[in-house]
Symmetry: C2
DNA sequence: AGTTTAGAGATTGTATACAATTTTGTTGAC
DNA sequence: GTCAACAAAATTGTATACAATCTCTAAACT
């Protein structure tokens, strides 16, 4: 799949950034990174481009590339955007979703229910992501799907945090059930509204979490 | 701004592709293009990355980059996606738009009206784009704005065609007026619905246009 | 002291050279 | 005649060399 060194380096760098090995605003040194990966500057530069389009770093001409960790306001914007995209996916999917996909959503929800009962966050998180991806796919719009997947990936670590808030698992689960019901009825407006709120709540929960952290930190 | 050769080359290539100097599926030859632009392969490759993220070309590892002209189904998907994005922008803008921005929208519409009266497509098209960009901006979400601007740019030539259909100018104009009214009232749902239809109609009109061309061509 | 400027060092952008892989064209067997 | 195997050419990916620009320091000047 990624025969090119540049791609593996991009993936590795992405992980390094996501796991917090770089602080916001840090400049990524081409030469040092090239040495670190045991390659020349060329593939490192190619990797930078990929990260740049993914929004993980900012490239300033003749200056270098700088890692961009989203701050509070940026994260809230992302969640807001995500809510609108999911709503759009839901609206389109309501008219297009196949019976087999509906069954898959049901099956996913059943697994989620068991995970909720056990308090298995990791499992729930995994199936939750699957649930949403089915809807993206059933929207039947490749461009929308590509963008929403990109954002889902970017928000992944933060969605994870938010899920661990007290009572959020059960709440999220209940919302999923309603969404499937509306999809089954083909009620586009309702599906859109449900999904928008479902994701918007994630943003709010995350906001609370953030506010809590801030009061502790400072 | 773009001190780098690579950026100017990307812009030039973009124009060459948009003006139809390459057919769908054509491979872009690094060496020949480098010679054509009087540079080495390196900046050409960098330009390829930019075009790739813009969705103008597809990059296949160890094979090369191939120009991708959107076909009928892809264009309709893009218009559909655009409709959803504009709706999202409208929804957010309804709650956030400033008075000065509302005045700007009014002013833009007045210019549009004069353009409609004169049948000045070029002028209308220009101000129309401005109209929408004001809404994108007033949505107050940088990520949404960036994506919708990217798509607006990509759909530009096709929106232009669609505008020249009989009666479309006046119809579009009337829709603009309604949108401003709903924005002024702050009615998010209505703004979203109006904008969604406003853009969806563009897709439909374009579809008609396309169908007409096809029957002529084959 | 603070500001300006010259210059060295560091870093990005581009050119060229080389390696690895794919594509193409030819030959040979069936 | 078709297909397979192999060799040659072409092309992409990577490494290295060079050029252009930026940064930072330190000395000179007001």
């Amino acid at each position: 799949m990624d025969n090119r060194r540049a791609d593996t380096i991009a993936a590795e760098l992405e992980q390094m950034i996501l796991t917090g090995q770089f602080s916001d605003g840090d400049r990524l040194n081409e030469i040092k990174l090239a040495a670190h990966f045991g390659v020349s500057r060329t593939p490192v530069r190619e990797a930078f481009h990929k990260l740049s389009t993914a929004g993980m770093v900012e490239q300033i001409p003749r200056r270098g590339v700088f890692v961009r960790h989203p701050g509070a306001v940026e994260l809230l914007s992302m969640f807001e955007y995500m809510a609108e995209m999911e709503a759009a996916c839901g609206r389109l999917a309501a008219a297009r979703i196949s019976d087999t996909a509906l069954q898959e959503l049901d099956a996913t929800n059943k697994i989620c229910e068991r995970a909720v009962a056990k308090g298995d966050y990791e499992r729930y998180y995994l199936e939750n992501e699957r649930f949403h991806r089915i809807i993206y796919s059933q929207a039947g719009n490749p461009f929308l799907e590509a963008d929403v997947l990109r954002l889902q990936k970017r928000l992944r670590p933060f969605r994870k945090m938010q899920l661990q808030l007290r009572g959020r698992l059960a709440q999220s689960m209940a919302e999923h059930v309603k969404i499937v019901a509306a999809l089954t009825k083909g009620d586009a407006d309702t599906v859109a509204a449900l999904l928008r709120d479902h994701v918007a709540v994630q943003g709010e929960k995350f906001h609370h979490l953030l506010a809590g952290l801030k009061t502790v930190a400072e």
